[in-house]
Amino acid sequence: MSKKITPAAYDSKIEGNVTFTKLDTAINWMRSNSLWPMPMGLACCGIELMATGASRFDIARFGMEVMRFSPRQSDVMIVAGTVTYKMALAVKRIYDQMAEPKWVIAMGACASSGGMYRSYAVLQGIDHLLPVDVYISGCPPRPEALLEGLMRLQKKIETEESVVEQKKELLKELSH
């Protein structure tokens, strides 16, 4: 019978003790609970993003409150707002500057699909340029929706198997 290994959790009772878990699970647990967002607020959605960071919605409950304005220090880029072609160049550049592993959230109709701006000036969805992990609908999405999106991203990160993948790649290389 196989037993699902759940992510380890802080337990004051076993502090100082040894806990067994999978390396991937431990890595994912750490990664998913300290997501540092890069707030790419480009239009009205940026206001909701700010609201999410403020006291009423308190994004700190999920370990994502450390908004980094330097791409070098952030894990997840929240593209909040209308991506014009001119700004798209800057968004892409900032994404390229972020260190791996990195994720992207397309917040709102504009970032996901161009939204109501069907015009020559607007990129019809940031996924033309970047690999998007979570799309959040709404115009603008409520802060709750953004938090839900971030929690889905956490769920997604928990399913990643970076060490296993690495091992597989190594074995493949060795077999050649």
Partner: protein
């Protein structure tokens, strides 16, 4: 001094260079000779105290000659009155003298008119595109430019694609119909 006084003064001083004058709902507009533009503008600023340049915009009157029109919106804080100055611009010669030396705010307004309609402001210190990126090949606010945009590409820098309009744009057609008939309807784009 009111704007009609100002217009009278301009007319006496630049008689032959005023091409048209119109009065609509209390707003005075003068169409002036393109070559005399800077002279008239500096007269407006220095003598008539129009110290504030509210806006510069360009209009594409496709099918009419001259095709473009550059519109200057002036305001005087001293006398609390408006004045609108226009110049016609030919398709063949899209040069207009810059007024950046008179009102520094003209810098970005002229860049926008250049970016969107393609008016070349001679004497502008830094005439670059302001809303589209440098190297974009079109002028999007011209009447013959489709709303959906055109495909363009600068390798490794930027691209743009026509957008899917899917039955749009949804616009209210001007009509005298009852309100329910004036709801936004899908209209074919030409």
């Amino acid at each position: 001094m009111t704007s009609s006084n100002a217009v009278d003064k301009i007319e006496t001083k630049f008689q032959d260079h005023i091409l048209d004058k119109s009065f609509f709902r209390g707003e005075l507009s003068l169409t002036v000779d393109k070559l005399k533009l800077v002279e008239i503008m500096s007269y407006c600023k220095d003598e008539l105290l129009y110290d504030y340049l509210v806006d510069i915009t360009a209009i594409d009157n496709l099918g009419i000659d001259p095709r473009y029109e550059v519109v200057y919106e002036l305001y005087s804080y001293t006398n609390s009155c408006h004045l609108r100055i226009k110049v016609g611009v030919d398709e063949a010669d899209r040069e207009v003298s810059s007024v950046v030396d008179l009102w520094p705010t003209a810098n970005w307004h002229e860049r926008e008119a250049y970016d969107m309609v393609g008016i070349n402001f001679s004497g502008h210190p830094d005439l670059r595109r302001i809303l589209m990126w440098e190297g974009y090949p079109f002028y999007p606010l011209r009447k013959d430019f489709p709303l959906a945009g055109k495909a363009s590409e600068m390798p490794d820098v930027a691209f743009s694609e026509p957008v899917p309009l899917e039955g749009g744009p949804f616009v209210t057609c001007p009509s005298s119909d009852a309100t329910d008939k004036r709801e936004p309807r899908s209209r074919e784009i030409i």
